[in-house]
C-alpha cells in the first residue's frame, strides 16, 4: 500500500486490524520458543503445547487501504507486536510454533454444536456496502475486516504478533530459506463439512495471483513466490512455485529467501477459498461465502448489512455466538447514534472520529488505544527547494509535535519520533529524533543557504481535506513553520480521490508534480520493519512517493531484509531508520490512537494496540 492513500489505507488497517487482532490475540503465553531442527537442516516447527487458543480470523494486516481519518481509528491493525521480535520465525533457525489441539481429531468429523451465545451487532463504518468478500480481491479495510471473519489461511498471527498455525498444523523451511513445506491439518473442513486439502490451498494461491484478480493484493505481497510474476502477467500456464506433494502437503518455493514470508502468508490473498463455490456462482460467489474461518455468510443484504452464521466445522471448536449482524453505515456519526440508542454492540472498528470520541470519553464502554500507524509529512525530493536536506531538517526541527498531539489532536495520538511505531518489532527506543528546537531550526535554514524564512520560496502542503484532523494538523504545521522559521506555506486540501491521483502523479513523474509536501499515513501490513522502511523509503520502491533516496539506507535495508539473525537484522533497520530521520526522508508526526465503543455484555473481545481482537472466536459471547 502506498502511503498516499492513506486514508484509505489507514482505515483499512485500522479496521482490518481490529478484526484481526482479535484473532490474534490469543495465546496467552507468550511466546513460543522452540524448536526442533530436523535432520535435513531445515527447521521444523514443532508444536509446543502451550498455546491454546488461538485465533482466528484472519490475517492481520493486510494491506488494505482504508480510508480513515487519521483519527479514527479504532480499527484494526495488523498485528504487530513488537516485543516479539525475537520470535520471528526466521527461516532456518529455530522456529517454533504452537499447535492447538484440533477439536476434530480422528477420522470422523462431526459438526460442532454452535450458537447459544447471542448475536454480535457490529457496525462497519464508512461504506454503503462492501465491495467484495473475496480474499483474492479485498483491498478496503472494511472488506478485509468482514472477509477475515469467514476465511483463514495456512498461518495466522496471534495478538502478540507471533505466528500460529492455522490451516497448516506445522511447516518446515529448507536451509536456504527458499522452500516452505506446509502440512495441512488432517481434519480441516469447509463450513459445509467437506474436506480441505493441499490442492485447495494451491488452487487458491494460483487464483489470487492470476491476471483475472489483478485488483487484489496477491501479486503485491506474494510476488516472491517462484513463477508468480510470469503467471500474473499471463506468460505461463500456472503458478510454478506452489506444488502439491500429497493431499496433506503443500510446497511453496520462493525466488529469494524472505524472513517475512510467513507473515505475508497471513494476508487475505493467501487464504483458502472453496473452488466449488467459485465455479458454481462465478463472480457472485461471495454472496454465499464460506471458508475455514469461524463464520460463514448467512445473508449479504447489499447496501444494508452482512449477516454471518457460525461455521459448525471450525477447526478450533464450537463458536458460541449465534452470529454477527454487521450493518454498513456510511457516516460514523450515524453509527455512533445507533450504538447510543442500543442498536449496536461494537462501534468504531472502521471509523471513529475524535470529535465523536470526546462525547463518550470516560464511559466504561469507551476504549482508546494507540495503533501501529504513522502520520507523517512527505517531501518531493526531486524538486528544488525540498531536495535540500538542510531545508527539510529546518522544517522538521521547527515542528512542536508535543503541542500537535496533546493540544491539537486532543490526546488521540502519540508523538512520533521515528518511523517505526512503539510496539512494532524493531522499534528503537534509542533513536535520536530531530526534537523541536527553533534555534537549531533557524540555524539549519541558514546552513541550507537561506538568510531567513522569507528567502524560502512559498511552499505548498497537500493533504486530504474535509477531515477534521488533517485540516487541524495542516493548519498547525503552517503556523509553526511561519512562527518558528518565518517560512510561508500554502495549504492545499484535496478530495480523497483527487489527492490519491496527485500522489500517483508525484510517484510517476516527481519533476512535473506540483506537490511539494504532503501529509500522508501508513499503517502496518504486517509486523515487520521491512514494511515501514524497505517498502516506503528505499530508492524507487512503489510506495516511495516522494522519491527519497540514500545509497547507505538502501544497502542497510537490503541486507536486513534477508538477514536471519534477528539482532543483526534489527540493528540494520535501526541504522537505516536513523539515516531516514536525520535526512528527513519522512517527517513523522504522530502515531494515532484508535477509538472504540464496546458494550459490556460482549465477552472475549479485547481492544489492544492492534485493535479489536480476540484470543479465540469460540470464546466470544454477547449475552
Amino acid at each position: 500500500m502506498r502511503n498516499g492513500m492513506f486514508m484509505r489505507r489507514s482505515l483499512a488497517l485500522l479496521s482490518g486490524l481490529a478484526v484481526l487482532l482479535p484473532a490474534l490475540a490469543a495465546c496467552g503465553d507468550s511466546t513460543p520458543t522452540a524448536t526442533t531442527t530436523t535432520a535435513g537442516g531445515g527447521a521444523t516447527v514443532s508444536p509446543t503445547d502451550s498455546g491454546i487458543g488461538i485465533t482466528a480470523t484472519t490475517a492481520p494486516t493486510k494491506g488494505v487501504d482504508a480510508t480513515l481519518a487519521p483519527t479514527t481509528s479504532a480499527a484494526t491493525m495488523p498485528p504487530t507486536a513488537a516485543a516479539q521480535a525475537t520470535t520471528l520465525p526466521t527461516a532456518g533457525a529455530n522456529v517454533t510454533s504452537i499447535i492447538e489441539n484440533p477439536t476434530l481429531t480422528g477420522g470422523a468429523v462431526t459438526p460442532n454444536r454452535v450458537g447459544g451465545g447471542g448475536m454480535l451487532r457490529w457496525s462497519n463504518e464508512g461504506v454503503q456496502d462492501l465491495d467484495t468478500l473475496d480474499p483474492a480481491l479485498v483491498n478496503a479495510s472494511n472488506s478485509v475486516m468482514a472477509s477475515g471473519l469467514i476465511f483463514d489461511g495456512l498461518v495466522r498471527t496471534d495478538s502478540k504478533l507471533g505466528l500460529q498455525p492455522a490451516g497448516a498444523e506445522r511447516w518446515d523451511i529448507s536451509p536456504d530459506g527458499k522452500t516452505y513445506t506446509f502440512h495441512i491439518r488432517p481434519n480441516l473442513r469447509w463450513a459445509n463439512g467437506s474436506p480441505v486439502t493441499a490442492e485447495d490451498f494451491r488452487w487458491s494461491l494460483e487464483r489470487a495471483l492470476s491476471k483475472d484478480n489483478a485488483a487484489g493484493s496477491g501479486s503485491y505481497y506474494l510476488g516472491n513466490i517462484s513463477g508468480a510474476t510470469d503467471w500474473n502477467a499471463g506468460k505461463t500456464q500456472g503458478l510454478s512455485g506452489v506444488t502439491v506433494k500429497d493431499p496433506q502437503t503443500l510446497v511453496i518455493t520462493l525466488d529469494k529467501a524472505g524472513v517475512y514470508f510467513l507473515y505475508q502468508l497471513t494476508f487475505t490473498a493467501a487464504e483458502v477459498v472453496p473452488r466449488k463455490l467459485v465455479e458454481q456462482y462465478g463472480k457472485n460467489w461471495p454472496d454465499h461465502a464460506y471458508g475455514t474461518g469461524p463464520f460463514q455468510v448467512k445473508e449479504w443484504r447489499h447496501n444494508e448489512r452482512l449477516l454471518l452464521a457460525p461455521n459448525p466445522y471450525y477447526y478450533r471448536g464450537a463458536v458460541q455466538l449465534d452470529g454477527i449482524d454487521m450493518p454498513f453505515v456510511q457516516d460514523p456519526a450515524t453509527a455512533f447514534n445507533l450504538y447510543r440508542s442500543g442498536g449496536l454492540d461494537v462501534m468504531g472498528s472502521q471509523q471513529f472520529p475524535n470529535t465523536l470520541a470526546a462525547q463518550v470519553a470516560g464511559q466504561p464502554d469507551f476504549r482508546q488505544e494507540p495503533q501501529f500507524f504513522d502520520a507523517y509529512v512527505g517531501f518531493n525530493n526531486k524538486k528544488s527547494p525540498l531536495n535540500n536536506v538542510k531545508l527539510r531538517r529546518a522544517l522538521a526541527l521547527a515542528v512542536d509535535k508535543k503541542t500537535l498531539t496533546e493540544r491539537v489532536l486532543g490526546g488521540g495520538a502519540v508523538t512520533a519520533n521515528g518511523i517505526l511505531p512503539p510496539g512494532l518489532p524493531g522499534f528503537n527506543p534509542n533513536l535520536k529524533p530531530l526534537a523541536f528546537d527553533p534555534t537549531a531550526a533557524k540555524a539549519a535554514l541558514v546552513a541550507a543557504g537561506f538568510k531567513d524564512g522569507a528567502a524560502v520560496p512559498k511552499l505548498t502542503l497537500s493533504y486530504t481535506g474535509g477531515q477534521a484532523d488533517f485540516e487541524k494538523v495542516a493548519t498547525t504545521l503552517q503556523q509553526m513553520w511561519k512562527q518558528n522559521l518565518g517560512v510561508s506555506v500554502q495549504l492545499q486540501g484535496e478530495e480523497q480521490a483527487r489527492y490519491n491521483n496527485d500522489l500517483t502523479a508525484l510517484a510517476n513523474a516527481p519533476d512535473k508534480s506540483p506537490i511539494e509536501m504532503y501529509i500522508s499515513v501508513w499503517g502496518a501490513d504486517y509486523p515487520d520493519p521491512q514494511n515501514f522502511l524497505s517498502q516506503q523509503l528505499r530508492t524507487d520502491v512503489g510506495n516511495n512517493n516522494g522519491h527519497y533516496s540514500n545509497a547507505q539506507f538502501d544497502q542497510l535495508v537490503d541486507l536486513a531484509d534477508v538477514e536471519r539473525d534477528v539482532t543483526k537484522r534489527m540493528d540494520g533497520y535501526h541504522q537505516a531508520e536513523q539515516i531516514a530521520i536525520d535526512e528527513v526522508g519522512w517527517l513523522p508526526l504522530y502515531h494515532s490512537s484508535g477509538n472504540l465503543l464496546l458494550r459490556g455484555t460482549v465477552k472475549g473481545l479485547v481492544y489492544t494496540a492492534q485493535g479489536l481482537t480476540t484470543d479465540d472466536w469460540t470464546g466470544v459471547t454477547n449475552k
Binding site: R2, D129, D131, A214, P327, D502
Partner: protein, 312 residues
C-alpha cells in the same frame, strides 16, 4: 394533442442524449482514477494495465462512449467498478424501492398535511390559526435537513436514555424506522406546500366567480372544493410534478444520515469511488424521471385547466 406529445418526446430524446454525453465527459474530467481506487491505491503498473483492459478503460474515449451508448440502447448500464461482478442495473434495482418508498411517503405526508393546513390558514386569514400555521410552516421550510435530523436524533436519544419509547435512529430494521426519515424529508416540502396552497387559495377566494357562486347560494363546502380548490391547486401541481422526479434518485442527506440503502446513498458512494458506470446511471435515471414528470405535469395541467389544452 398527438403533435404535442411527439414534439415533447423528440426533445426528451435529445435531452437524454446530451445528458449521456455530458455525464460521461464530466465524470472523466473529475480528477481521480477508478482503477487506483479499485486497487486500493497500491501502485503496480502490470496490474493497472490488466485492470484497464478488463474494464475497457484502455480504449480511446470516443470508443468508450460509443460502447456505453450501445449498451444503453440494449438496456445495459454496464458493470460497476467498485463492486466486482455486480451489474449497475442490479445496484439500482436494490436502491430504487427504498428511495421510492421514502419519497412517496414524504410526498403523501407533505401533501396530506400541507394542503389542509394551507386551506385553513387561507380561510382564517390573519387570525391566530393562520399565524401559528404560517410560522410553523415557514420554520419547517427553512430548517436544513441536517439540522432537523440532529435535533430529532438528539430528542430521540434523550427519550431512549430516559427509558421512554423512542424511534430507531438509523437503518430499516423495523417499520418504525421509516418515521424519522419520512418526516424529515417531508418537512420542507410540507412547509412549502402549505404556503403555496394558502396564497393561491387566498387569491382564488377573492375572484369574481367565487362571489358569483356565493350569490347563487352554493354551500361553502361546494364553493371551496369545486371552485376554490380546483383552481388553487394548479400552482401546486407545478411544484409537485418536478419534485416527484427527485424521489427516484433519493434524498442524499436523509439517506446518508439515516443510513438508508437507497439510490442517494449509492450515488454518494459511487462519486467518491469514481465508479463511472454507476454515476452515469444514476444521473440518467434522474434525467429520465425529470423529463417524464414534466411531461405528466403538462398533461395534468390540461386536465385541470382545459384552456391550456386548447392552446397546446
Amino acid at each position: 394533442m398527438r403533435g404535442f406529445l411527439l414534439r415533447r418526446l423528440g426533445s426528451a430524446l435529445f435531452v437524454l442524449f446530451s445528458l449521456t454525453l455530458l455525464t460521461f465527459v464530466i465524470a472523466r474530467l473529475a480528477p481521480g482514477d477508478p482503477i487506483m481506487q479499485m486497487m486500493g491505491n497500491r501502485r503496480d503498473p502490470v496490474r493497472y494495465a490488466a485492470l484497464q483492459q478488463q474494464y475497457g478503460l484502455d480504449q480511446p474515449l470516443p470508443v468508450q462512449y460509443l460502447q456505453y451508448v450501445g449498451g444503453l440502447l440494449h438496456g445495459d448500464l454496464g458493470m460497476s467498478f467498485q463492486y466486482p461482478g455486480r451489474p449497475v442495473t442490479t445496484i439500482l434495482a436494490a436502491g430504487l424501492p427504498v428511495s421510492l418508498k421514502l419519497g412517496l411517503g414524504a410526498l403523501l405526508l407533505s401533501t396530506i398535511v400541507g394542503v389542509p393546513l394551507g386551506i385553513i390558514a387561507a380561510l382564517r386569514r390573519n387570525g391566530p390559526a393562520d399565524r401559528v400555521i404560517t410560522t410553523l410552516m415557514l420554520g419547517l421550510f427553512s430548517i436544513p435537513s441536517f439540522v432537523l435530523i440532529g435535533l430529532l436524533v438528539w430528542l430521540d436519544l434523550t427519550l431512549y436514555k430516559a427509558h421512554w419509547p423512542s424511534l430507531p435512529v438509523a437503518g430499516l430494521q423495523q417499520p418504525a424506522s421509516w418515521v424519522l426519515p419520512i418526516f424529515v424529508l417531508a418537512a420542507s416540502s410540507m412547509g412549502y406546500i402549505a404556503r403555496i396552497t394558502r396564497s393561491s387559495m387566498i387569491e382564488v377566494l377573492g375572484q369574481d366567480y367565487i362571489r358569483t357562486a356565493r350569490s347563487k347560494g352554493l354551500s361553502a363546502a361546494v364553493i371551496l372544493t369545486r371552485h376554490g380548490l380546483r383552481n388553487a391547486l394548479l400552482p401546486l401541481l407545478t411544484v409537485l410534478g418536478p419534485s416527484v422526479a427527485f424521489l427516484v434518485t433519493g434524498a442524499f442527506v436523509v439517506e446518508k444520515l439515516f443510513n438508508l440503502p437507497g439510490i442517494g446513498n449509492t450515488t454518494i458512494q459511487s462519486i467518491g469511488q469514481r465508479d463511472y458506470p454507476v454515476i452515469q446511471a444514476t444521473t440518467i435515471l434522474l434525467g429520465v424521471a425529470v423529463l417524464m414528470m414534466n411531461l405528466i405535469t403538462d398533461l395534468l395541467y390540461s386536465v385541470f385547466d382545459p384552456r391550456i389544452a386548447r392552446q397546446g
